[in-house]
Protein backbone atom coordinates (compact mmCIF):
# COMPACT_ATOMS: atom_id res chain seq x y z
CA UNK A 1 0.00 0.00 0.00
CA UNK A 2 2.99 2.26 0.33
CA UNK A 3 4.58 1.68 -3.00
CA UNK A 4 3.11 4.79 -4.56
CA UNK A 5 4.65 7.02 -2.00
CA UNK A 6 7.90 5.15 -2.04
CA UNK A 7 8.49 5.63 -5.70
CA UNK A 8 7.35 9.24 -5.60
CA UNK A 9 10.01 11.90 -5.05
CA UNK A 10 10.72 12.23 -1.37
CA UNK A 11 8.35 14.44 0.55
CA UNK A 12 6.12 15.87 -2.17
CA UNK A 13 5.02 19.39 -1.54
CA UNK A 14 1.56 19.35 -0.03
CA UNK A 15 -0.88 20.22 -2.77
CA UNK A 16 -4.18 21.62 -1.60
CA UNK A 17 -6.32 19.11 -3.39
CA UNK A 18 -9.72 20.07 -2.06
CA UNK A 19 -10.16 22.85 -4.63
CA UNK A 20 -8.67 20.68 -7.36
CA UNK A 21 -11.31 18.07 -6.89
CA UNK A 22 -13.97 20.64 -7.54
CA UNK A 23 -12.40 22.37 -10.52
CA UNK A 24 -10.18 19.93 -12.29
CA UNK A 25 -12.16 17.30 -14.09
CA UNK A 26 -9.16 15.15 -14.91
CA UNK A 27 -8.79 13.97 -11.33
CA UNK A 28 -12.39 13.37 -10.65
CA UNK A 29 -15.32 11.85 -12.43
CA UNK A 30 -18.17 13.23 -14.45
CA UNK A 31 -21.03 14.40 -12.30
CA UNK A 32 -23.31 11.60 -13.38
CA UNK A 33 -20.69 8.99 -12.55
CA UNK A 34 -20.28 10.53 -9.15
CA UNK A 35 -23.96 10.51 -8.44
CA UNK A 36 -24.30 6.99 -9.75
CA UNK A 37 -21.56 5.74 -7.45
CA UNK A 38 -23.00 7.57 -4.49
CA UNK A 39 -26.40 6.12 -5.30
CA UNK A 40 -25.01 2.59 -5.55
CA UNK A 41 -23.07 2.98 -2.31
CA UNK A 42 -26.00 4.40 -0.42
CA UNK A 43 -28.44 1.85 -1.82
CA UNK A 44 -26.14 -1.00 -0.88
CA UNK A 45 -25.58 0.32 2.63
CA UNK A 46 -29.27 0.93 3.10
CA UNK A 47 -30.21 -2.54 2.00
CA UNK A 48 -27.60 -4.47 3.92
CA UNK A 49 -26.83 -2.23 6.86
CA UNK A 50 -29.26 0.51 7.65
CA UNK A 51 -32.50 -1.42 7.23
CA UNK A 52 -31.52 -4.24 9.58
CA UNK A 53 -30.40 -1.69 12.15
CA UNK A 54 -33.45 0.42 11.67
CA UNK A 55 -35.61 -2.63 12.22
CA UNK A 56 -33.85 -3.26 15.52
CA UNK A 57 -34.74 0.21 16.75
CA UNK A 58 -38.26 0.02 15.35
CA UNK A 59 -38.84 -3.21 17.24
CA UNK A 60 -37.28 -1.80 20.41
CA UNK A 61 -39.55 1.23 20.35
CA UNK A 62 -42.66 -0.57 19.12
CA UNK A 63 -44.42 0.02 22.41
CA UNK A 64 -42.96 3.45 23.08
CA UNK A 65 -40.21 4.64 25.36
CA UNK A 66 -41.70 3.36 28.63
CA UNK A 67 -41.25 -0.36 27.97
CA UNK A 68 -37.98 0.43 26.21
CA UNK A 69 -36.45 1.88 29.36
CA UNK A 70 -38.13 -0.68 31.60
CA UNK A 71 -36.06 -3.31 29.86
CA UNK A 72 -32.93 -1.95 31.51
CA UNK A 73 -34.20 -2.05 35.08
CA UNK A 74 -34.36 -5.83 35.14
CA UNK A 75 -31.63 -7.21 37.43
CA UNK A 76 -30.71 -9.99 35.02
CA UNK A 77 -30.24 -7.46 32.25
CA UNK A 78 -28.01 -5.33 34.44
CA UNK A 79 -25.97 -8.39 35.37
CA UNK A 80 -25.62 -9.23 31.68
CA UNK A 81 -24.47 -5.71 30.86
CA UNK A 82 -21.90 -5.83 33.66
CA UNK A 83 -20.56 -9.19 32.56
CA UNK A 84 -20.25 -8.01 28.97
CA UNK A 85 -18.33 -4.91 30.00
CA UNK A 86 -16.11 -6.99 32.25
CA UNK A 87 -15.26 -9.46 29.49
CA UNK A 88 -14.45 -6.60 27.13
CA UNK A 89 -12.41 -4.83 29.84
CA UNK A 90 -10.17 -7.87 30.16
CA UNK A 91 -10.04 -9.01 26.55
CA UNK A 92 -9.32 -5.65 24.92
CA UNK A 93 -6.24 -4.64 27.00
CA UNK A 94 -4.70 -8.10 26.62
CA UNK A 95 -5.20 -8.06 22.87
CA UNK A 96 -3.91 -4.50 22.83
CA UNK A 97 -0.60 -5.55 24.35
CA UNK A 98 -0.40 -8.49 22.00
CA UNK A 99 -1.29 -6.34 19.00
CA UNK A 100 1.50 -3.86 19.77
CA UNK A 101 4.08 -6.58 20.34
CA UNK A 102 3.14 -8.54 17.25
CA UNK A 103 3.03 -5.47 15.04
CA UNK A 104 6.39 -4.28 16.34
CA UNK A 105 8.05 -7.62 15.76
CA UNK A 106 6.52 -8.11 12.33
CA UNK A 107 7.01 -4.64 10.92
CA UNK A 108 10.35 -3.59 12.36
CA UNK A 109 12.25 -6.78 11.67
CA UNK A 110 12.78 -9.33 8.97
CA UNK A 111 12.58 -12.97 9.87
CA UNK A 112 11.60 -16.24 8.32
CA UNK A 113 8.00 -17.36 8.47
CA UNK A 114 6.60 -13.88 8.81
CA UNK A 115 3.71 -14.53 6.45
CA UNK A 116 2.96 -17.71 8.33
CA UNK A 117 2.84 -15.75 11.58
CA UNK A 118 0.50 -13.17 10.05
CA UNK A 119 -1.74 -15.92 8.78
CA UNK A 120 -1.84 -17.56 12.19
CA UNK A 121 -2.85 -14.24 13.68
CA UNK A 122 -5.68 -14.03 11.13
CA UNK A 123 -6.83 -17.53 11.93
CA UNK A 124 -9.32 -16.71 14.71
CA UNK A 125 -11.30 -14.69 12.14
CA UNK A 126 -11.89 -17.82 10.16
CA UNK A 127 -12.60 -20.12 13.07
CA UNK A 128 -16.30 -20.67 13.36
CA UNK A 129 -17.59 -19.34 16.68
CA UNK A 130 -19.01 -22.79 17.24
CA UNK A 131 -15.53 -24.27 16.98
CA UNK A 132 -14.06 -21.50 19.13
CA UNK A 133 -16.42 -22.56 21.89
CA UNK A 134 -15.82 -26.22 21.25
CA UNK A 135 -12.07 -25.97 21.77
CA UNK A 136 -12.57 -24.72 25.31
CA UNK A 137 -15.01 -27.52 25.97
CA UNK A 138 -12.40 -30.01 24.77
CA UNK A 139 -9.80 -28.50 27.07
CA UNK A 140 -11.70 -27.40 30.13
CA UNK A 141 -14.81 -29.60 29.94
CA UNK A 142 -15.42 -32.22 32.60
CA UNK A 143 -13.97 -34.79 30.19
CA UNK A 144 -11.39 -32.27 28.93
CA UNK A 145 -7.62 -32.60 28.98
CA UNK A 146 -6.75 -29.78 31.33
CA UNK A 147 -9.72 -30.00 33.63
CA UNK A 148 -8.53 -32.59 36.18
CA UNK A 149 -5.54 -30.44 37.07
CA UNK A 150 -7.16 -27.08 36.43
CA UNK A 151 -10.30 -27.83 38.37
CA UNK A 152 -8.26 -28.71 41.44
CA UNK A 153 -5.70 -25.94 41.32
CA UNK A 154 -7.26 -22.93 39.64
CA UNK A 155 -11.00 -23.19 39.59
CA UNK A 156 -13.84 -23.47 37.18
CA UNK A 157 -13.22 -22.20 33.68
CA UNK A 158 -16.05 -23.57 31.59
CA UNK A 159 -19.59 -22.39 32.33
CA UNK A 160 -18.14 -19.59 34.44
CA UNK A 161 -16.76 -16.12 33.85
CA UNK A 162 -13.17 -17.18 32.94
CA UNK A 163 -14.47 -19.31 30.06
CA UNK A 164 -16.48 -16.39 28.73
CA UNK A 165 -13.46 -14.12 28.96
CA UNK A 166 -11.26 -16.68 27.20
CA UNK A 167 -13.74 -17.12 24.37
CA UNK A 168 -14.00 -13.34 24.00
CA UNK A 169 -10.22 -12.98 23.86
CA UNK A 170 -10.06 -15.66 21.21
CA UNK A 171 -12.59 -14.16 18.82
CA UNK A 172 -11.20 -10.63 19.14
CA UNK A 173 -7.60 -11.78 19.05
CA UNK A 174 -6.56 -10.46 15.59
CA UNK A 175 -8.30 -7.10 15.52
CA UNK A 176 -5.67 -4.75 16.92
CA UNK A 177 -2.66 -6.53 15.41
CA UNK A 178 -4.43 -6.63 12.06
CA UNK A 179 -5.12 -2.91 12.18
CA UNK A 180 -1.56 -1.98 13.16
CA UNK A 181 0.50 -4.22 10.89
CA UNK A 182 -0.29 -2.56 7.53
CA UNK A 183 -0.02 0.88 9.08
CA UNK A 184 3.36 0.27 10.67
CA UNK A 185 4.60 -1.56 7.62
CA UNK A 186 3.92 1.53 5.63
CA UNK A 187 5.54 3.89 8.10
CA UNK A 188 8.79 2.00 7.95
CA UNK A 189 11.52 2.44 10.52
CA UNK A 190 13.21 5.75 9.69
CA UNK A 191 11.67 7.64 12.58
CA UNK A 192 12.65 5.02 15.09
CA UNK A 193 16.15 4.84 13.72
CA UNK A 194 16.48 8.60 13.90
CA UNK A 195 15.36 8.62 17.52
CA UNK A 196 17.70 5.79 18.40
CA UNK A 197 20.66 7.46 16.75
CA UNK A 198 19.92 10.53 18.85
CA UNK A 199 20.36 8.42 21.94
CA UNK A 200 16.80 7.51 22.89
CA UNK A 201 16.22 4.17 24.58
CA UNK A 202 14.02 1.58 22.93
CA UNK A 203 11.14 2.29 25.28
CA UNK A 204 11.44 6.05 24.74
CA UNK A 205 11.47 5.50 21.01
CA UNK A 206 8.35 3.44 21.26
CA UNK A 207 6.38 5.80 23.49
CA UNK A 208 7.55 9.09 21.95
CA UNK A 209 7.91 8.19 18.30
CA UNK A 210 6.03 5.05 17.36
CA UNK A 211 3.01 5.45 19.57
CA UNK A 212 2.16 8.97 18.37
CA UNK A 213 2.57 7.75 14.79
CA UNK A 214 0.19 4.86 15.17
CA UNK A 215 -2.28 6.25 17.66
CA UNK A 216 -5.13 6.55 15.18
CA UNK A 217 -4.78 3.05 13.89
CA UNK A 218 -4.43 1.85 17.45
CA UNK A 219 -7.54 3.67 18.58
CA UNK A 220 -9.40 2.29 15.66
CA UNK A 221 -8.30 -1.26 16.37
CA UNK A 222 -9.30 -0.89 20.00
CA UNK A 223 -12.76 0.33 19.00
CA UNK A 224 -13.34 -2.57 16.62
CA UNK A 225 -11.96 -5.06 19.10
CA UNK A 226 -14.22 -3.65 21.78
CA UNK A 227 -17.30 -3.69 19.57
CA UNK A 228 -16.70 -7.29 18.60
CA UNK A 229 -15.91 -8.29 22.18
CA UNK A 230 -19.24 -6.99 23.37
CA UNK A 231 -21.21 -8.45 20.51
CA UNK A 232 -19.80 -11.97 20.39
CA UNK A 233 -22.52 -14.57 20.56
CA UNK A 234 -21.64 -17.97 19.13
CA UNK A 235 -18.47 -18.86 20.99
CA UNK A 236 -19.66 -17.42 24.28
CA UNK A 237 -22.93 -19.28 23.92
CA UNK A 238 -21.08 -22.60 23.96
CA UNK A 239 -19.03 -21.88 27.08
CA UNK A 240 -21.53 -19.88 29.09
CA UNK A 241 -24.00 -22.39 30.50
CA UNK A 242 -26.71 -19.71 30.17
CA UNK A 243 -27.27 -19.24 33.88
CA UNK A 244 -29.48 -16.22 34.34
CA UNK A 245 -27.86 -13.33 36.11
CA UNK A 246 -24.53 -15.15 36.38
CA UNK A 247 -23.08 -16.24 33.08
CA UNK A 248 -25.29 -14.49 30.56
CA UNK A 249 -23.68 -11.79 28.49
CA UNK A 250 -25.75 -9.19 26.68
CA UNK A 251 -25.97 -11.10 23.40
CA UNK A 252 -27.01 -14.27 25.22
CA UNK A 253 -29.49 -12.35 27.29
CA UNK A 254 -30.98 -10.91 24.13
CA UNK A 255 -31.54 -14.40 22.81
CA UNK A 256 -33.19 -15.43 26.07
CA UNK A 257 -35.49 -12.43 26.08
CA UNK A 258 -36.40 -13.08 22.48
CA UNK A 259 -37.18 -16.69 23.27
CA UNK A 260 -39.39 -15.56 26.12
CA UNK A 261 -41.44 -13.49 23.70
CA UNK A 262 -40.10 -10.32 25.33
CA UNK A 263 -39.47 -8.83 21.92
CA UNK A 264 -39.35 -5.22 23.04
CA UNK A 265 -36.88 -5.97 25.82
CA UNK A 266 -34.77 -8.13 23.50
CA UNK A 267 -34.47 -5.44 20.88
CA UNK A 268 -34.01 -2.76 23.52
CA UNK A 269 -30.92 -4.54 24.82
CA UNK A 270 -29.79 -5.11 21.24
CA UNK A 271 -30.18 -1.43 20.48
CA UNK A 272 -28.19 -0.62 23.61
CA UNK A 273 -25.38 -2.76 22.26
CA UNK A 274 -25.64 -0.99 18.92
CA UNK A 275 -25.58 2.34 20.71
CA UNK A 276 -22.51 1.38 22.73
CA UNK A 277 -20.81 0.75 19.44
CA UNK A 278 -22.07 4.02 18.07
CA UNK A 279 -20.79 5.95 21.08
CA UNK A 280 -17.29 4.62 20.53
CA UNK A 281 -17.57 5.40 16.84
CA UNK A 282 -18.88 8.86 17.56
CA UNK A 283 -15.90 9.37 19.85
CA UNK A 284 -13.65 8.30 17.03
CA UNK A 285 -15.33 10.70 14.60
CA UNK A 286 -15.04 13.50 17.11
CA UNK A 287 -11.35 12.88 17.70
CA UNK A 288 -10.73 12.69 13.98
CA UNK A 289 -12.44 16.00 13.51
CA UNK A 290 -10.78 17.60 16.51
CA UNK A 291 -7.29 16.53 15.52
CA UNK A 292 -7.76 16.65 11.79
CA UNK A 293 -4.50 18.56 11.23
CA UNK A 294 -2.39 16.15 13.21
CA UNK A 295 -4.06 13.30 11.48
CA UNK A 296 -3.34 14.70 8.07
CA UNK A 297 0.24 15.31 9.09
CA UNK A 298 0.76 11.80 10.35
CA UNK A 299 -0.84 10.37 7.28
CA UNK A 300 1.36 12.34 4.97
CA UNK A 301 4.23 11.00 6.85
Amino acid sequence: MSQIENTAPADPAPIPFEPLKQTNSVVTEATWVRWLLIAIGVAFLSLFLMLPLLSVFVEALRKGFGPFFDAFSDSDTIAAIKLTLLAAAIAVPLNLVFGLCAAWAITKFEFRGKQLLITLIDLPFSVSPVVAGLIYVLIFGAQGWAQPWFGDHVGKVLFAVPGIVLATIFVTFPFIARELIPLMQEQGTEDEQAALSLGATGWQTFTRVTLPNIKWGLLYGVLLCNARAMGEFGAVSVVSGHIRGLTNTMPLHIEILYNEYEFVAAFAVASLLAMLAMVTLAAKSFLEWRYADQLAASRRH
Binding site: M1, Q3, I4, N6, I15, L20, K21, S25, V26, V27, L37, I38, I40, G41, F48, L49, P52, L53, F98, C101, A102, A105, K108, F109, F111, Q115, L116, T119, L120, D122, L123, P124, F125, S126, V127, S128, P129, V130, V131, L134, I135, I169, F170, P182, E186, T189, E190, E192, G202, A227, R228, G231, F233, G234, M250, E255, A270, L273, A274, S285
Partner: protein, 281 residues
Amino acid sequence: MSATATLPARRPTKRAIPGLGPTLGFSLFYLGLIVLIPLAGVFFKASGLGVSGIWHVITSERVLAALRLSFGAALIAALINVVFGSIVAWVFVRYDFVGKRLFDAFIDLPFALPTAVAGIALTALYSPNGWIGSLVEPLGIKIAYTPLGVIVAMTFIGLPFIVRTVEPVLREVDRDLEEAAATLGAWRWQTVVRVIAPAVFPSVVTGFALAFARAVGEYGSVIFIAGNFPLVSEIAPLLIIIKLEEFDYQGATAVAATMLVISFVLLLIVNLLQAWVRKRS
Protein backbone atom coordinates in the same frame (compact mmCIF):
# COMPACT_ATOMS: atom_id res chain seq x y z
CA MET B 1 13.32 -5.49 -3.30
CA SER B 2 13.30 -2.30 -5.31
CA ALA B 3 11.95 -0.33 -2.39
CA THR B 4 14.92 -1.25 -0.24
CA ALA B 5 17.24 -0.50 -3.10
CA THR B 6 16.04 3.05 -3.57
CA LEU B 7 15.58 3.73 0.10
CA PRO B 8 18.28 1.85 1.94
CA ALA B 9 17.37 3.45 5.24
CA ARG B 10 14.08 1.57 5.20
CA ARG B 11 15.68 -1.81 5.40
CA PRO B 12 14.86 -3.07 8.84
CA THR B 13 18.02 -4.11 10.59
CA LYS B 14 18.28 -6.08 13.76
CA ARG B 15 21.05 -3.96 15.19
CA ALA B 16 19.34 -0.64 14.90
CA ILE B 17 15.99 -1.36 16.50
CA PRO B 18 15.68 -3.11 19.82
CA GLY B 19 12.95 -5.34 21.09
CA LEU B 20 12.69 -8.21 18.64
CA GLY B 21 13.28 -10.76 21.36
CA PRO B 22 10.67 -9.66 23.87
CA THR B 23 7.99 -8.61 21.38
CA LEU B 24 8.28 -11.64 19.15
CA GLY B 25 8.65 -13.85 22.18
CA PHE B 26 5.53 -12.51 23.81
CA SER B 27 3.60 -12.59 20.53
CA LEU B 28 4.46 -16.23 19.97
CA PHE B 29 3.72 -17.13 23.57
CA TYR B 30 0.33 -15.41 23.51
CA LEU B 31 -0.47 -16.76 20.06
CA GLY B 32 0.38 -20.24 21.23
CA LEU B 33 -1.60 -19.98 24.43
CA ILE B 34 -4.72 -18.41 23.00
CA VAL B 35 -4.85 -19.76 19.46
CA LEU B 36 -2.48 -22.58 18.64
CA ILE B 37 -2.79 -24.86 21.65
CA PRO B 38 -6.59 -24.70 21.69
CA LEU B 39 -6.78 -25.26 17.95
CA ALA B 40 -4.31 -28.11 18.19
CA GLY B 41 -6.90 -29.71 20.43
CA VAL B 42 -9.29 -29.85 17.48
CA PHE B 43 -6.78 -31.74 15.38
CA PHE B 44 -5.80 -33.97 18.25
CA LYS B 45 -9.41 -34.95 18.90
CA ALA B 46 -10.10 -35.52 15.21
CA SER B 47 -6.96 -37.61 14.86
CA GLY B 48 -8.64 -40.23 17.04
CA LEU B 49 -10.61 -41.15 13.92
CA GLY B 50 -7.52 -41.92 11.88
CA VAL B 51 -6.95 -40.69 8.37
CA SER B 52 -9.49 -43.00 6.79
CA GLY B 53 -12.06 -42.11 9.45
CA ILE B 54 -11.64 -38.38 8.83
CA TRP B 55 -11.76 -38.94 5.10
CA HIS B 56 -14.95 -40.93 5.51
CA VAL B 57 -16.55 -38.11 7.55
CA ILE B 58 -15.64 -35.25 5.28
CA THR B 59 -16.41 -36.98 2.01
CA SER B 60 -19.93 -37.92 2.98
CA GLU B 61 -22.41 -36.30 0.65
CA ARG B 62 -23.94 -34.16 3.38
CA VAL B 63 -20.66 -32.79 4.72
CA LEU B 64 -19.45 -32.02 1.22
CA ALA B 65 -22.68 -30.18 0.44
CA ALA B 66 -22.40 -28.19 3.67
CA LEU B 67 -18.76 -27.30 3.01
CA ARG B 68 -19.63 -26.32 -0.54
CA LEU B 69 -22.41 -24.06 0.73
CA SER B 70 -20.31 -22.46 3.47
CA PHE B 71 -17.32 -21.81 1.25
CA GLY B 72 -19.34 -21.01 -1.88
CA ALA B 73 -21.69 -18.57 -0.19
CA ALA B 74 -18.78 -16.99 1.67
CA LEU B 75 -16.96 -16.54 -1.62
CA ILE B 76 -19.95 -14.91 -3.29
CA ALA B 77 -20.63 -12.73 -0.27
CA ALA B 78 -16.99 -11.63 -0.14
CA LEU B 79 -17.06 -10.82 -3.86
CA ILE B 80 -20.25 -8.79 -3.43
CA ASN B 81 -18.50 -6.96 -0.63
CA VAL B 82 -15.42 -6.38 -2.76
CA VAL B 83 -17.48 -4.69 -5.46
CA PHE B 84 -19.86 -2.70 -3.31
CA GLY B 85 -17.53 -2.26 -0.36
CA SER B 86 -14.93 -0.70 -2.65
CA ILE B 87 -17.54 1.59 -4.15
CA VAL B 88 -18.61 2.58 -0.64
CA ALA B 89 -15.01 3.24 0.38
CA TRP B 90 -14.46 5.27 -2.79
CA VAL B 91 -17.59 7.31 -2.22
CA PHE B 92 -16.62 7.92 1.41
CA VAL B 93 -13.13 9.10 0.54
CA ARG B 94 -13.72 11.05 -2.63
CA TYR B 95 -17.19 12.57 -2.47
CA ASP B 96 -19.29 14.57 -0.11
CA PHE B 97 -22.95 13.98 0.35
CA VAL B 98 -25.60 14.45 2.95
CA GLY B 99 -25.49 11.77 5.62
CA LYS B 100 -22.00 10.57 4.78
CA ARG B 101 -20.79 10.78 8.36
CA LEU B 102 -23.83 8.89 9.54
CA PHE B 103 -23.25 6.06 7.10
CA ASP B 104 -19.59 6.09 8.01
CA ALA B 105 -20.39 5.69 11.69
CA PHE B 106 -22.68 2.74 11.00
CA ILE B 107 -20.25 0.70 8.94
CA ASP B 108 -18.78 -1.16 11.88
CA LEU B 109 -22.05 -2.15 13.43
CA PRO B 110 -22.08 -5.67 11.98
CA PHE B 111 -19.18 -6.27 14.37
CA ALA B 112 -21.03 -4.96 17.35
CA LEU B 113 -24.47 -6.34 16.78
CA PRO B 114 -24.74 -9.85 18.21
CA THR B 115 -24.94 -12.25 15.31
CA ALA B 116 -28.22 -13.66 16.58
CA VAL B 117 -29.78 -10.21 16.51
CA ALA B 118 -28.43 -9.66 13.03
CA GLY B 119 -29.92 -12.99 12.01
CA ILE B 120 -33.31 -12.17 13.46
CA ALA B 121 -33.34 -8.69 11.93
CA LEU B 122 -32.27 -9.93 8.51
CA THR B 123 -34.77 -12.77 8.55
CA ALA B 124 -37.52 -10.34 9.51
CA LEU B 125 -36.57 -8.13 6.55
CA TYR B 126 -36.00 -10.78 3.91
CA SER B 127 -38.71 -13.30 4.80
CA PRO B 128 -41.76 -13.33 2.52
CA ASN B 129 -43.69 -11.00 4.85
CA GLY B 130 -40.74 -8.70 5.55
CA TRP B 131 -40.05 -5.22 4.16
CA ILE B 132 -37.72 -6.47 1.44
CA GLY B 133 -38.92 -10.03 1.09
CA SER B 134 -42.44 -8.90 0.27
CA LEU B 135 -41.06 -6.69 -2.52
CA VAL B 136 -39.15 -9.43 -4.29
CA GLU B 137 -41.62 -12.25 -3.64
CA PRO B 138 -43.92 -11.23 -6.53
CA LEU B 139 -40.88 -11.55 -8.79
CA GLY B 140 -40.57 -15.15 -7.74
CA ILE B 141 -37.43 -14.56 -5.72
CA LYS B 142 -37.17 -16.14 -2.31
CA ILE B 143 -34.32 -14.92 -0.14
CA ALA B 144 -34.91 -16.08 3.41
CA TYR B 145 -34.68 -19.85 3.98
CA THR B 146 -32.69 -20.40 0.78
CA PRO B 147 -28.96 -20.28 0.00
CA LEU B 148 -29.59 -16.67 -1.07
CA GLY B 149 -30.40 -15.88 2.54
CA VAL B 150 -27.08 -17.37 3.60
CA ILE B 151 -25.32 -15.03 1.18
CA VAL B 152 -27.26 -12.03 2.50
CA ALA B 153 -26.27 -12.76 6.10
CA MET B 154 -22.65 -13.35 5.15
CA THR B 155 -22.55 -10.11 3.15
CA PHE B 156 -23.82 -8.25 6.18
CA ILE B 157 -21.18 -9.54 8.56
CA GLY B 158 -18.31 -9.15 6.09
CA LEU B 159 -18.98 -5.60 4.92
CA PRO B 160 -16.85 -3.72 7.47
CA PHE B 161 -13.75 -5.73 6.60
CA ILE B 162 -13.61 -4.47 3.02
CA VAL B 163 -14.65 -0.89 3.65
CA ARG B 164 -12.33 -0.47 6.60
CA THR B 165 -9.26 -1.93 4.91
CA VAL B 166 -9.72 -0.12 1.58
CA GLU B 167 -10.76 3.26 2.98
CA PRO B 168 -7.48 4.28 4.69
CA VAL B 169 -5.39 3.15 1.73
CA LEU B 170 -7.55 4.97 -0.74
CA ARG B 171 -7.17 8.06 1.38
CA GLU B 172 -3.42 7.82 0.99
CA VAL B 173 -3.35 7.45 -2.77
CA ASP B 174 -1.38 10.39 -4.00
CA ARG B 175 -3.42 12.87 -5.94
CA ASP B 176 -0.21 14.07 -7.59
CA LEU B 177 0.02 10.81 -9.44
CA GLU B 178 -3.50 11.14 -10.73
CA GLU B 179 -2.66 14.65 -11.78
CA ALA B 180 0.48 13.44 -13.49
CA ALA B 181 -1.39 10.67 -15.25
CA ALA B 182 -3.97 13.16 -16.44
CA THR B 183 -1.39 15.61 -17.74
CA LEU B 184 0.26 12.75 -19.59
CA GLY B 185 -3.01 12.35 -21.44
CA ALA B 186 -4.61 9.47 -19.58
CA TRP B 187 -8.35 9.23 -19.59
CA ARG B 188 -9.96 9.29 -16.20
CA TRP B 189 -10.79 5.60 -16.31
CA GLN B 190 -7.24 4.82 -17.36
CA THR B 191 -5.99 6.67 -14.31
CA VAL B 192 -8.39 4.73 -12.13
CA VAL B 193 -7.40 1.38 -13.59
CA ARG B 194 -3.65 1.98 -13.95
CA VAL B 195 -2.87 4.22 -10.98
CA ILE B 196 -5.48 3.88 -8.29
CA ALA B 197 -6.44 0.24 -8.68
CA PRO B 198 -2.91 -1.13 -8.26
CA ALA B 199 -2.43 1.03 -5.18
CA VAL B 200 -5.52 -0.23 -3.41
CA PHE B 201 -5.38 -3.78 -4.75
CA PRO B 202 -3.47 -5.29 -1.81
CA SER B 203 -5.91 -3.83 0.68
CA VAL B 204 -8.85 -5.12 -1.33
CA VAL B 205 -7.31 -8.56 -1.24
CA THR B 206 -6.81 -8.34 2.51
CA GLY B 207 -10.36 -7.21 3.00
CA PHE B 208 -11.60 -9.97 0.77
CA ALA B 209 -9.65 -12.59 2.67
CA LEU B 210 -10.86 -11.40 6.05
CA ALA B 211 -14.49 -11.08 4.97
CA PHE B 212 -14.33 -14.49 3.36
CA ALA B 213 -12.71 -16.13 6.36
CA ARG B 214 -15.21 -14.60 8.73
CA ALA B 215 -18.18 -15.64 6.60
CA VAL B 216 -17.06 -19.25 6.25
CA GLY B 217 -17.35 -19.88 9.96
CA GLU B 218 -20.42 -17.74 10.59
CA TYR B 219 -23.16 -19.45 12.54
CA GLY B 220 -25.34 -17.17 14.66
CA SER B 221 -26.78 -14.97 11.96
CA VAL B 222 -26.99 -17.62 9.26
CA ILE B 223 -29.04 -20.29 11.04
CA PHE B 224 -31.96 -17.93 11.36
CA ILE B 225 -32.16 -17.14 7.69
CA ALA B 226 -30.83 -20.34 6.10
CA GLY B 227 -33.64 -22.88 6.18
CA ASN B 228 -31.12 -25.46 7.38
CA PHE B 229 -32.01 -28.24 4.96
CA PRO B 230 -29.48 -31.00 4.46
CA LEU B 231 -27.81 -30.82 1.05
CA VAL B 232 -29.49 -27.50 0.27
CA SER B 233 -29.20 -24.85 2.92
CA GLU B 234 -27.28 -26.51 5.73
CA ILE B 235 -24.02 -24.74 6.56
CA ALA B 236 -20.94 -26.56 7.84
CA PRO B 237 -20.99 -25.04 11.35
CA LEU B 238 -24.56 -26.33 11.80
CA LEU B 239 -23.34 -29.77 10.82
CA ILE B 240 -20.72 -29.49 13.56
CA ILE B 241 -23.48 -28.70 16.04
CA ILE B 242 -25.54 -31.64 14.80
CA LYS B 243 -22.58 -33.97 15.23
CA LEU B 244 -22.10 -32.66 18.75
CA GLU B 245 -25.76 -33.39 19.49
CA GLU B 246 -25.02 -36.97 18.55
CA PHE B 247 -22.04 -36.92 20.96
CA ASP B 248 -19.88 -37.47 17.89
CA TYR B 249 -17.09 -35.17 19.09
CA GLN B 250 -14.58 -36.74 16.75
CA GLY B 251 -16.78 -36.26 13.70
CA ALA B 252 -17.47 -32.67 14.76
CA THR B 253 -13.78 -31.92 15.16
CA ALA B 254 -13.04 -33.63 11.83
CA VAL B 255 -15.35 -31.18 10.05
CA ALA B 256 -13.96 -28.31 12.12
CA ALA B 257 -10.38 -29.27 11.32
CA THR B 258 -11.18 -29.49 7.62
CA MET B 259 -12.67 -26.00 7.66
CA LEU B 260 -9.65 -24.74 9.56
CA VAL B 261 -7.16 -26.19 7.12
CA ILE B 262 -8.96 -24.81 4.07
CA SER B 263 -9.30 -21.35 5.62
CA PHE B 264 -5.71 -21.37 6.77
CA VAL B 265 -4.40 -22.29 3.33
CA LEU B 266 -6.53 -19.61 1.68
CA LEU B 267 -5.40 -16.95 4.13
CA LEU B 268 -1.78 -17.99 3.74
CA ILE B 269 -2.01 -17.74 -0.04
CA VAL B 270 -3.51 -14.28 0.23
CA ASN B 271 -0.86 -13.11 2.68
CA LEU B 272 1.97 -14.49 0.55
CA LEU B 273 0.45 -12.90 -2.52
CA GLN B 274 0.37 -9.61 -0.73
CA ALA B 275 3.93 -9.80 0.47
CA TRP B 276 4.94 -10.61 -3.10
CA VAL B 277 3.02 -7.64 -4.49
CA ARG B 278 4.58 -5.37 -1.90
CA LYS B 279 8.08 -6.52 -2.71
CA ARG B 280 7.58 -6.25 -6.43
CA SER B 281 6.50 -2.64 -6.40
